[in-house]
Symmetry: D2
Subunit: 297 residues, 4 copies
């Protein structure tokens, strides 16, 4: 991996992040032609969005290093949504599903990455378009999930789900989550959804607090085109992209979702146990502690 340009994205409100950035920046500057450090991920993403595609391409780095948790990484991925940049998430808290490198190992991981020995995990993303029937002008990209949900003072959302133009079912619920495999371990899991391994070529649709009690998740082929129609609501409906960007829908609006042709590319240290994050997240380690080795005590 011959790197000309690296970008460090971090949220400087946390002291630990500032400290890590102060160590990391000079280290990286010695090894890469050009290093840029940004201390406000949201601000930086917003700044990029105001540029033309060509201007944005001109700023495009060869490597993004994110200091923070899964939330910071979701924000960083948004910055270069059109043309994903290999991204390394260095996690300062619990091991994340996206930001998988613990802060204690940033040095050896980056060394391996710069030596071209990093592992690149491709993670499917969702492309979302929404608006009134005729006019679906708005568009965004999600790495984890796209969520339709009622306002907290409002009644149920009524929505219908369509796959490749064919009606699947209706929902009467607090909301509806469409998640990628990456997102299957985030909000969708809390709403009762299954876990999808990152390499499963599928999306999962999970209702939130469905009034119908047979509220099961549906796992759909990622090659299809999904549409969610807002059939009714007592007020406005929020459309949340990766839990970070929010838009407003109203009755009759349609949300079209498909897998984006270009996945995110997440970097990691080779040899990491792919299921450890899962066991940690689920508390499985504690409940079924294996004996010596991976057996069962």
């Amino acid at each position: 991996m011959t790197l000309r340009r690296a970008l460090i994205l971090a949220n400087f409100e946390k002291a630990a992040v500032r400290e890590l950035a102060a160590e990391l920046e000079p280290w990286l500057t010695e090894r890469v032609d050009e290093v840029r450090l940004e201390g406000d991920i949201r601000g930086f993403s917003a700044e990029l969005e105001s540029l033309t595609v060509a201007e944005r391409a001109a700023l495009r780095p060869d490597l993004v290093v994110v200091l923070g948790g899964d939330g910071a990484l979701l924000g960083a991925v948004r910055a270069f949504a059109d043309e994903p940049v290999p991204t390394l998430g260095i996690n300062l808290g619990h091991v994340g599903f996206l930001a998988s490198t613990p802060a204690t190992r940033w040095r050896d991981t980056l060394e391996r990455v710069l030596a071209g020995e990093g592992v690149t995990e491709e993670r499917a993303r969702l492309e979302v378009e929404w608006g009134a029937e005729e006019d679906r002008g708005a568009r965004a990209m999600a790495l984890n999930d796209v969520v339709l949900q009622r306002g907290s003072h409002q009644g149920m959302v009524r929505a219908s789900l369509w796959v490749d133009g064919v009606w699947v079912t209706n929902y009467r619920a607090d909301g509806l989550i469409v998640a990628t495999p990456s997102g299957s371990t985030a909000y969708s899991l809390s709403a009762g959804g299954p876990i999808l391994e990152p390499n499963v070529d599928a999306l999962v649709v999970t209702p939130i607090c469905s009034q119908g009690l047979s509220n099961r998740s549906i796992v759909l082929d990622a090659k299809g085109e999904l549409e969610v129609r807002v059939e009714g609501a007592s007020g406005l409906v929020t459309l949340a992209i990766d839990g970070q960007a929010f838009h407003t829908l109203q009755r009759g609006d349609r949300v079209r979702l498909r897998r984006h042709p270009k996945p995110s590319r997440l970097l990691a240290l080779p040899g990491l146990d792919p299921y450890r994050r899962l066991r940690d997240r689920l508390g499985w380690g504690g409940e079924h502690a294996p004996g010596n080795g991976p057996g069962v005590s």
Copy 2:
């Protein structure tokens, strides 16, 4: 579809099945060179199993018509497990997930099928091998699911799950279900699993009454090789293949599962609503009755 040889499989205990067979057999005999009618699906499958592969191949029809529900179809598919035969399930009760043609429409469906206009749905199957570590002699095929479960007088089963040789997690539960997309709407659904569309290239692993409360289903890429190891049990563990064939496992035994290269081929009338069975099964029709057309009232 030029058909030389058709086989009708039916369970003759039910009068309605005998009556339908009495109508269907002469109708088919007029249109196909050779028609064979069997009134005991289990018996016929067992008979086939006692033959050599070559003898079985010699008996292989070009079309199987099954009279009955999903259970009958699962049994029929077992009869020609090595080399699946296009199979039409004619359902005498509720519309099934596998036997999707209602009895009232047998004539036009078969006409279309014989005219080569039937729709063929390919349904992934599981190949299962099991036994002690060194010796995994036993082998079977499943269209819906492979289930490990405790005897009704016994304590929890402890099992571990492995994918491509990597440890995923441990279970302490009544049992464990590995299901194909077809099977995701059967027992796995009752145990809390998600629904997988038939064309999703994945398998789903769902624990039954897990002692650990984070008992979520995991959806795994069907290209992987799964292994379930019986780590402990207070007695014998049952291995159930499609809920019809039963074998016995003991502590230390291993069950290896992979997608079989040849899917089952289920015939259906073209133009059937692919999600109607799902809505019927889930009672979604009733709970969220759409207004006129597929909208929401």
Copy 3:
């Protein structure tokens, strides 16, 4: 039941409600000394709340008849929260859990009620107080549930649960529902909670989309005093009373809940099948249709 004064509460936006009110009012006027008809339940409740306790008591009827569904009945019960009035809910849509008399039977039900032959179901209510630690000035009454929930643009709510001053557990979730048996079949059920028979002397606490996956409901003795503390939130937290009145909480606020000494008194026709509403709500009728009589087909 010697009735001096009856109050009819209805929401006049719906034509069917206006028509029923036009029939019911003269019928009741012939049988009761004084009948008052209000066509705006929310407006009427708000008007009452602005009065003194004595003024409100002076207006107190002997019977309230509500035309509408469960939502209308919840609003009507709020109007006389301090001193519950026997209330008959006449349902114009699906049979409700609270408004249990179908519109087609209003006449014979009211005749029985006026003859003193109506059945009175007592339904436990919750008394809620909330505010900062030292000052818990605000107070309300709920028949169904008290819900804490995050705003739709905000992150998880962190809350702790206490019973009689003893810490039970912490939640990190979209919200938390404390429901009476009446409310156990409403929002709490959608969030995964169990059904509590109306006469069970208990409350049920159910998290909404808990991040912890062992998110089970806890059923607590209604004689205890519950407290929910808002430990953290990324913004304001909404406190919803019966899904109709909304208040705002912030970090550090406490919500104290106890069973109110005076239950609501709901009137019904004698001999109604107490479990029919449940089977209807749950779609159990459809899924397990009993044969002739209450057997199983």
Copy 4:
């Protein structure tokens, strides 16, 4: 508490149990008139059952000390089912819901108990009778649960639930669990049921892998009489009492359940945190680790 006679029940297969018994027996002999030590709980219970009620009463101790986990305690309680004896469960493994005293604290707990300062928790029990319609000869007592379940080679059980002679609903499932509050944290929890605080005067009915997807638990007033009828099954149905004693039911059989007038009396050290066991069992401690004190970090 003036104690004349103490009984120590233990399962001598485990070395740790034998060691603890060897310490405990002489200690107790110095403080109580008569101490009896039994090293085979099942054998001892069976022996008692072969005696007359009078003979059994003559053997009745004033205190039972059980060395083992919840399973051992369930067995010990069965020994004196007619007339419960105050029972102290000393737990050699994880803290149990029933056997709540850790082995490290046996001495101070017994000292307090002998000084009359132990806490006695009353735990509701179920009385079960079953048999054909006219003849319900068989009878047993359960502290945790009564479970009807299908054999592992058999199809669904169809059963109906009745409360005080009124039909509630039908089930088509792997089985049905009727649990006391004590049992709500055992098998019922694994099957998706809620947690009932020990002092809630209720029972909970939870289906196991219900084919109907609206498979929610129902919490019923413990003052009612429940009946479960076996409407159909493809083979024999097992009736399990506290997961330890097994009986056989067939189509048409009825199981009648009511709260037994005499609860079990479990002894414990005063001041134990009543919710710690719950948090441990549910892994809540780990997932929502409180900061200093019971706040939320």
